[in-house]
């Protein structure tokens, strides 16, 4: 008899305790973000596709078109073309085909001038494969535009045609 009532009260109390928990959650502010209208800021650690770092001092990239990233990439999805300007090589084209990228990070690690990083871009959707081809130079120009800078001038070789393709013809 005692056990019967005891069980009843213990049970009832546990139900009340449960309801107290849910009502506390009921009045708590909502955590869901209404996505297309509100967006969360990504953490800096988020690994989106790679992009060129904008150097805070020179406001340009640090890439020397050495082609290390092109050779290292296990999926061979990076294309870099550079030209020699005043004994310095500069890229004219830096394009990745993101649909093949495994986000392994080898390109970021191998770059001798530390010119690459992972972007915070998470809104990646496209209607065709071509939409996943990302022009990193254009992205850098867009980033420069946010601080009011014009697009980078296209480097032109001084004399004879010295364009070298660093693309691996594997």
């Amino acid at each position: 008899m005692v056990a019967y009532f005891r069980e009843m009260f213990v049970g009832l109390w546990s139900l009340v305790a449960g309801m107290a928990v849910t009502i506390r959650y009921f009045v708590r502010p909502i955590v869901t973000v209404q996505y297309p209208r509100q967006k969360l800021t990504m953490t800096p650690k988020y690994r989106g596709h790679i992009e060129l770092i904008m150097d805070p001092e020179t406001n340009t990239h640090r890439c020397t078109a050495c082609g290390m990233c092109v050779r290292t990439c296990p999926s061979s999805l990076i294309t870099v073309e550079g030209v020699k300007v005043k004994k310095k090589k500069l890229p004219v084209k830096h394009v990745i085909d993101y649909s093949y990228c495994s986000l392994c990070g080898l390109c970021v690690e191998v770059c001798p001038t530390k010119a690459l990083k992972f972007s915070n871009e998470y809104r990646l959707a496209g209607y065709q494969r071509q939409d996943m081809v990302i022009d990193l130079m254009a992205r850098l120009d867009a980033e420069r535009a946010t601080v009011g800078l014009p697009p980078l001038p296209i480097p032109t070789p001084e004399s004879e045609e010295e364009t070298t393709s660093a693309e691996e013809k594997a």
Binding site: L15, M19, T22, I23, F26, I30, V31, T32
Partner: protein, 310 residues
């Protein structure tokens, strides 16, 4: 009478649309989500859009069903629901028919729901539907007994089956103060009677697909849905009349008070649903027979003794 009928049908539809929206909002907020937000202000028109979609759906009748019964079940579940609104006193002058046996009529007709669930489950020719129907009947029989006994203890105090008389008897103090145990028992039984979680084993979706209405589509399913939410309104309205003083309140008009109390009880029932896990079948039945019915009897006896002594 025609006006009343149209009024009841309008109330039933608007109430169901509102309750579905409310349920989704309550569920969402308990889970820290916003719930429907897109159609109308905070998704208020979402259920209207859903209803239009439901009406547009094809009515599929599976082969091998028991056709007449299969087609009749959604109608049978809905008809008593309309009758129940006849006697609910929304305000002193807002009762369609203030019958002498009002509360009996409500309990008698709300039992018809079980018949319709059995019809739907049996005629669907589907094992899950039959399981759902069997469980529903066992559950409804088990929970109707304590429901009636708790209502009896109120009727003993008032000495009338008339709903307006029960409200009139609460002019000094609401019966929830005098009969807290009866109120608790009534709410538990009402939750079970309307097949709501945690007593929703007739339509336990994780084991029985959708229970007795698995084979229904389109507006036939819509009628079951409508009936469920209307039943919720009815049991809450009866709880309001029996325990919360019906339309009594201050400043605001009586009908507003009545609706506030009804929706407060509905909120409580929804709150149950999003807190408690579903019971197992044996737990459900033994809870009714071993706990609720004895307690209801004791409550009735104590009430009768108290009335005799004072």
């Amino acid at each position: 009478m025609i006006v009343a009928l149209i009024g009841v049908i309008a109330l039933v539809s608007v109430n169901a649309l509102f309750l579905i929206w409310m349920e989704r909002k309550v569920a969402a907020h308990i889970q820290l989500r916003p719930g429907p937000m897109e159609v109308g202000f905070h998704g208020a028109l979402q259920t209207v859009a859903d209803a239009i979609k439901l009406i547009g759906k094809e009515l599929i009748t599976p082969e091998e069903v028991d056709r007449p019964i299969y087609l009749l079940a959604p109608i049978v579940i809905f008809l008593p629901v309309l009758v129940l609104f006849l006697v609910i006193p929304f305000a002193p002058n807002l009762i369609i028919r203030d019958l002498n046996v009002g509360i009996l009529l409500i309990f008698a007709f709300s039992s018809l729901t079980v018949l319709s669930i059995l019809m739907a489950g049996w005629s669907s020719n589907n094992k899950y539907s039959v399981f759902g129907a069997i469980r529903s009947i066992a559950q409804n029989i088990a929970y109707e007994i304590p429901l009636l006994i708790t209502a009896m203890s109120i009727i003993l105090m008032v000495g009338s089956f008339k709903l307006s008389a029960i409200v009139a008897a609460q002019d000094k103090v609401w019966f929830v103060v005098i009969q807290p145990l009866a109120f608790l028992l009534y709410i538990i039984c009402a939750t079970a009677e309307t097949n709501r979680a945690p007593f929703d084993i007739p339509e336990a979706e994780s084991e029985l697909v959708a229970g007795f209405h698995t084979e229904y589509s389109g507006m036939r399913f819509g009628l079951f849905f409508l009936a469920e939410y209307t039943n919720m309104f009815v049991v809450s309205a009866v709880a309001t009349v029996l325990f919360l003083g019906g339309w009594r309140g201050w400043i605001l008009p009586p009908v507003v008070w009545f609706l506030i109390k009804v929706y407060a009880i509905i909120f409580l029932i929804m709150w149950f649903r999003w807190t408690f896990p579903r019971l197992r079948f044996d737990q459900l039945i033994s809870f009714a027979w071993k706990v609720l019915i004895p307690l209801a009897f004791v409550n009735l006896l104590v009430t009768a003794l108290a009335i005799k002594l004072f």
